[in-house]
Amino acid sequence: MNIDTILSIRGLSVMFKTEIGEQLAVNNVSLDMKRSQTTAIVGESGSGKSVTAYAMMRLIQAPGKITSGQIICTPAQQESFDVLQLADNSNALYHLRGGLMAMIFQEPMTALSPVHTIGNQVMEAILTHQTVTKAEAFELACAMLDRVGIADASQRMQQYPFEFSGGMRQRVMIAMALVCKPQILICDEPTTALDVTIQAEILALLKELKKTIQISLLFITHDLAVVAQIADEVIVMNQGRVLETGSVRQILNDPIHPYTQNLIAAVPGMRQQDRLRPVSSKPDSTDYPSYSLIPLKGDRQVALPVSLVPEEYRL
């Protein structure tokens, strides 16, 4: 593990007990997040991308269980530690959730409490993690809302979420996540519920924030166009496994794994094509047999046997 890796997952498995037996939602996943970069996890519903992110913050609840693996976190100027070794209810875990890592959710209306003012919700995050007075917390919250582009912040802090539009609510979510200066920001489909124009605004905001406050972003999405715009590194997941990793240009312009190729071909777009090519003809198929990841040229990996990888990519 090199020094500029802020988070490194090794052999993570998460199991859910269901009526039809034990299901591995995340199956022996290993991945690295580079410091101050945007890593995107791409996959369809059920690919295990959100569960991986929830495991990073230890938010997996029964009937789910982390069965094996390590999540090594190396915050700036601190010793690295294994997130999975922290005791439940320990101070370190409290500090991790919200303090070191923060999360933005897909649906800002359900993620915000409808019965508390915006100001109280942002201040709650500050008061939980920092030793400040209420007046100071108010000032901090106000400054952060202003920072994410909410005009008239001190007035709007008195308002409730229903008085905000979808894009504004997502800005509030970002403010709540950033107010304790986390080093890792997990964005779970943050623009999926938004209009395309608002999505462009939120993506621009996240990019600008990444540049100015040096935060490492983990971006979870199924929208490959969003990935193209925001990500530096891409991880493709399917059925709980990592199928391909590499830089955004490698994955989108030159995918090796057939699943990645199909995922890109399924995007309706400006290219002239008569029919879309869905990833598989049947829902819930397991067309892609499990192989382990092998390293390739250009610091990328693919889950295929060497014989199926074209010559020019092999090490």
Binding site: E44, S45, G46, G166, D195, V196, T197, I198, Q199, A200, E201, L203, A204, H222, D223, L224, A225, V226, A228, Q229, A231, V248, R249, L252, N253, N262, L263, I264, A266, V267, P268, G269, M270, Q273, R275, L276, R277, P278, V279, S280, S281, P283, D284
Partner: protein, 284 residues
Amino acid sequence: MTDYILEVSNFSVKFPLIKRGLLSRQVGEFTAVNNVSFSVQRGSSLGIVGESGSGKTTLVRAILRAIDPASGSAVFQSQAGAVDLCQLSDKELIPLRTQMQMIFQDPFASLNPRMKVADIVSEPLVIHRPEQHREHRQTVVHMLERVGLEADTLHRFPHAFSGGQRQRIGIARALILNPSLVICDEAVSALDVSVQAQVLNLLVDLQREMNLTYIFVAHDLNVVHHFCEQALVMYHGSVVESGPVKQIFTSPRHDYTRLLLSAIPSLDPDIKLSPLDRNSLSLE
């Protein structure tokens, strides 16, 4: 002469603004759809795009008379000849409902969780063709096959299906009466890109087989570009631009269309997203 299945002219929908309280009264009205005119060719697909709040869903719901329009006309070529949907009483509309159907956005909310698939899909038949009840089962099985679901799904409840499968159930329910006009209100917005591709392909196949006309409401411009021949762009209740999809996408005339197009992220990481500034455009 072009065969138009639906001709909408000077169509407006207004909602009353009501002051609440003991002495509640109407204090004004909000125009959700403002003087919209368009026509749809039989067998084609018309896309309606716009941001949330632009009135696109209100427009299609008012055409189906789920909401009553304030003014205008919507002339529908039914099997019995041309009728103005805005002039009919609720009772007179019932027989026409078999020819106009709707596919909804949220496959989780639009299916009754307490009804089995067989009952969901056959409900339109029970309402509109009760006299043929002996053939219902056969029709349902056949319809489910056409949308790609096995016959063993009949006795299961909606919760047992994935999002894409549920949307197929919704499509089966909409098509079982053999309608001529199908309104898809964000029918693929809630689906993953791969499942979305499956459902879009299915809709195209069914259009060819059953000679369907689609009105396709969507906020995803790429989907409309792929799926439709004609499109309307709506902004604040008005149509700001309409025409062939290719023309709208390659040479947009209205600033709002330019704004929408500039906000579409490209699949190419080297083409950076640079949306136009809303404030610098003349949008009204």
